[in-house]
Every structure is written in C-alpha cells, then in structure tokens.
C-alpha cells in the first residue's frame, strides 16, 4: 500500500510539539466582558440613527406637484411600478442573465396594477363624493383610446402644473375626468387617508407595506431625500444609512459593482451584480477544493506573520 503524497494546501502536519495552558472558560468570559464594554462605549458615544419614516401624507404636503406627477405616472402606466414586470405585473421586461430570465420564469406573485391600486381604487373608497363618482364612472366606461387621449393631454399640460390654494391646477380642457381624479387623489393624500387606504387589503391588521413603498419609490421626492442623506445609488447606496454611521459596511463588495460599468449602465445591472456575487460566494465557500485558489495563502506567506513565534522558535520550519 502506498502513502499519498503530502499536499501542502490540503494536508496538515500532525503536531508533535508542545502545548501551553489554555483556560477556554476564562477566555470566553473576558471576551464577552470586553465586547460588552466596547458596545456600551460606542452606543453611549455615537448612539444610532432613527430618521422618521416619510408618509404619503408628508410627501404630498411637502411636494404636492411631485405627488400629482407621480400619481399621473401611475394612471398612465409610465411609473417604474407600472412598467416593472415580474413579480408585480406583465408590463415590463424582467432583468436577465444571458438567457436566464429568472424573475419572468417565477412569474407575477405580488400583483400590482398601478392605475387601479394607487389611483382608481383609493378614489372609489372616498365616501360621499358624487362629482368624483361620476368622473370615475366616465373614466372607467371610456374606451382605451379615449383614456389615452385624456391622459396624453393632461401629461402634456402638466409641464406647467401648479399648486394653488390646495388645488392641483393644470390648464387643459381635453383631459376629461383626469384633472379631477389627480386633484382629488392629491387632496386625499394630503389628508393622510391614502396612507391607510393603501394598507387595507388584508383588513384591519396589516404588516405589508408593498403598495405604499412602491408608490413612494416612484416619486422624485424619496430619491431626492436619499441623495441629501448620501444614500443614492451612485453614493454607495443602501450599504450606508442616515447620518455618519458605518451602515452595512460588509456589503461594500456588493455595492461596489453598482459603481462601475457595465453594471451601472446595463438594464440588467441588478441581475448581473447578483450573478457575480453568487459566483464569488461559491468560490469563497469552495476555496479548500479549488486548486490554485487554495494555494494563495501559502504563496502570500502572511501566515509567517501569524505564526512568527512558532517559526522563530523552530528555526524556520515546523
């Protein structure tokens, strides 16, 4: 029977040297106390951020024109949510990695119809609004081409949209019921009623904020606030948090790809970044069994620094 040759990056020599006393319980206790103390010091000195969440109400009061413009984009299907694709709807091309269209294959599992969910259904929920009810009926019973004509006329005129005395003002006479719908939705939002309406799908109790968050994310307002807080996608985005805090620094590599081509220029950027990170994660996992990769530590020789006392005492080798 022949012995296998020693593979330095796979095998380890049997230790035949000496041993030193080791009190594992004492070590663990001291480590726990030191970490607890460090945590306490950092918490006392630096605290933690807690910037209050924005609401549809606060957004529509702070920037009613942005709200009305976003509402129009939900109604005419030009918002990000309206044209997202899977898992929300079939209105957009899902991202893909080469031939792999993973999101599309999984399909629409969280159905979102932006016009219905964000504009028409909330307006229908408003009680005792006969004029609005009539306008909603007119809109719903109109042909698709008529609706498109109204929406295009409103969109064209909304370049000069104003907000005067609590009303959204757009100078157009060809937009049918759309001006009333957008204005009433803005009024509803400013009252806070839209915040609640977007959460009511599951009844009284709910913890699902998918709809209001998608609506907010379609605005300019949320992105502008995030950029002010150095949270923009080109500012290392979601690994940061408000204020001067380290945030999720461990996501630096994931966020890094979003800063460089082709990831920050491709329509499939998210899918490509995830693909790269999955490959890198698998490589990290499989380092021990990948020839070449597992030799890197031996070639880098950083271990000479770690075990410097051992090599000094043994005169260079084990």
């Amino acid at each position: 029977m022949t012995k296998k040759a020693f593979r330095p990056d796979v095998d380890a020599p049997e230790w035949k040297g000496g041993h030193t006393p080791y009190d594992i319980i004492k070590e663990g206790t001291i480590a726990l106390l030191v970490i607890a103390l460090l945590t306490l010091i950092f918490a006392v000195v630096f605290g933690s951020p807690d910037e209050a969440a924005i609401t549809i109400k606060s957004w529509s009061n702070a920037d009613p024109i942005d709200f009305a413009t976003t509402a129009l984009s939900e109604l005419n299907g030009t918002s990000i949510s309206a044209s997202y694709g899977a898992p929300y709807n079939h209105n957009g091309a899902s991202q893909q990695i080469g031939p792999l269209q993973l999101a599309k294959w999984v399909g629409v599992r969280i159905p979102i119809n932006s016009a219905q969910n964000f504009v028409i259904e909330p307006l229908k929920a408003l009680p005792n609004e006969p004029t609005l009810d009539a306008d909603l009926k007119q809109y719903s019973s109109a042909s698709s081409s008529t609706q498109t004509g109204w929406l295009n006329a409103y969109a064209k005129a909304s370049a000069d949209m104003k907000f005067v005395k609590g009303q959204v003002v757009v100078n157009t006479t060809n937009a049918g019921p759309v001006p009333v719908m957008i204005n009433d939705l803005t009024t509803m939002a400013r009252s806070g009623a839209l915040d609640q309406d977007l959460l009511n799908d599951n009844g009284f109790y709910t913890t699902d904020y998918t709809k209001p968050l998608l609506f907010l994310a379609d605005s300019q307002y949320l992105g502008n606030l995030a950029t002010e807080q150095h949270l923009g996608g080109d500012q290392w985005g979601m690994m940061n948090e408000t204020g001067n805090y380290p945030g999720q620094a461990w996501l630096w590599l994931y966020t890094f790809w979003y800063q460089i081509p082709p990831f920050n220029q491709s329509g499939n950027g998210d899918a490509l970044v995830w693909a790269v990170m999955m490959v890198l994660s698998v490589l990290l996992l499989l380092v021990p069994v990948i020839p070449g990769l597992r030799s890197i530590p031996r070639k880098l020789r950083i271990y000479r620094l770690i075990w410097r006392e051992h090599y000094r005492d043994s005169g260079g080798s084990s």
């Binding site: 020693f6 319980i25 970490i35 945590t39 599992r109 904020y209 949320l222 948090e241 380092v287 084990s318």
Partner: protein, 215 residues
C-alpha cells in the same frame, strides 16, 4: 437485556460516537498547541462574544415590540447597543475569516469547518439586512425600495418580499437567527473536534513529508 442488544440501540451508538469524536477534554480543553500564539486567534472568540451581545440586545428590543425604540429614549439606547454589537460582530468575523484564509485553515480535514464558517458569514449578512429592512424608519424605506430590484432580478423577490415589513421582521428575529446560531454551533463543534490547524511546514520539501492528517 443482553449487552449486544444495548450495543445496537440508537441512543447507545449515538452516545459512543459523540464520546469518540468529542471527548470532554476536547469540549473544554485546558491546554492548546504552542503555535496558537497570535492576536488573530482572539477574533474567533470575539465573534462569538459579539454574537452573544447581539442576541441579548435583540431580545431586550423584542420585549417591548418593534415600535418601542422609536418613542423611548431607553428603547433608542438599546437599539444603539444592538447596532454597535452588530458592527463589532461583523468587524471581528471578517478579520477572523481572513485570518483563517491566511492560515489555510481548511487543511487537515477541516474543509467542513471552513464551509460552515462561510455559510454562517452569508447567513449573518442576510440577518443583518433584514434587521435594516425592518427598522420601520426612513433608512428601512430607502434600503428596501433599493434592495427589491436586486432580489427581484433573481426571481426570489416573488417569495422574499423586502417591502413586507412583517415578513422581514419574522425572518430577522426568528428564522435567520436560528440559522445563524445553529451554523455557529456546528462551526464551533467542528473546531473542537478537529482542533486548530497547525502551521505550514516551511523549508520541508513536500515529497519528504508524510500525511499525518488529511482528507
């Protein structure tokens, strides 16, 4: 009952297997190889200690519910403790990971020890992310609306909806912590079974070495 019958019992076989693999002197050793003499070894136990503080501060936060820390100065302070224990946890874990990489700590049949460590690291990232997603403040609004695009692109967003606060909170305080703790326990058990990887035998030609501990 005969001895043979007792020997065949599942309980007996499991106990003997555990005793053989992990005798008390390996579980609670009182000596260690003399090469274990570097500050880098501190970061393994520091990671475990940080995890303990993370879990403890998270449990204190859980006592009064997810909204408590927004309206209470005590709650906010506990949140600060939780945040910084997480930061220290990742700091120590990343140094531990790269230290073990530099030592090629998978050698000598320790591949599974390395792998459980890497998976624990990835599970910890997911745990921390769901924590940021379930803060119910501006940060969580921004982080989730940005992160959804990446997760949706993989197809996973259809089932792992980062905009669903309830789902994120449950993953953060139940499912992922269980995964992280179980993986950590497995990792530590493997470390205790296999011991700390010995140094490279420098200046000795591979052909002249004998495989003492291998895969």
């Amino acid at each position: 009952m005969s001895n043979a019958e007792i020997d065949r019992q599942w309980t007996t076989r499991l106990r003997r297997r555990v005793e053989g693999k992990l005798p008390p002197e390996k579980v609670l050793p009182d000596t260690q190889p003399s090469y274990v003499a570097s500050w880098i070894y501190v970061f393994g136990v520091a990671t475990l200690a940080s995890l303990g503080v993370v879990i403890f501060t998270g449990c204190v936060l859980a006592l009064r519910g997810p909204q408590w820390w927004h309206g209470s100065q005590y709650g906010h302070f506990v949140n600060s403790l939780h945040l910084w224990s997480v930061e220290i946890f990742f700091f120590t874990m990343v140094i531990h990971l790269w230290g073990k990489f530099a030592m090629a700590a998978w050698r000598g049949g320790r591949t599974l020890t390395w792998m459980t460590g890497v998976v624990t690291f990835l599970a910890s990232i997911a745990t921390a992310f769901t924590g940021y997603a379930s803060q119910s403040n501006f940060d969580s609004q921004w982080i989730t609306t940005q992160a959804k695009d990446g997760i949706n692109a993989t197809g996973a967003g259809a089932y792992f909806n980062v905009l669903n606060l309830g789902q994120m909170l449950m993953w953060h305080i139940v499912l992922l912590p269980i995964a992280a703790v179980v993986l950590t326990a497995l990792h530590v058990i493997l470390v205790r079974i296999k011991g700390v990887v010995p140094p490279f035998e420098d200046d000795v030609k591979p052909a002249a070495q004998k495989v003492a501990v291998g895969e």
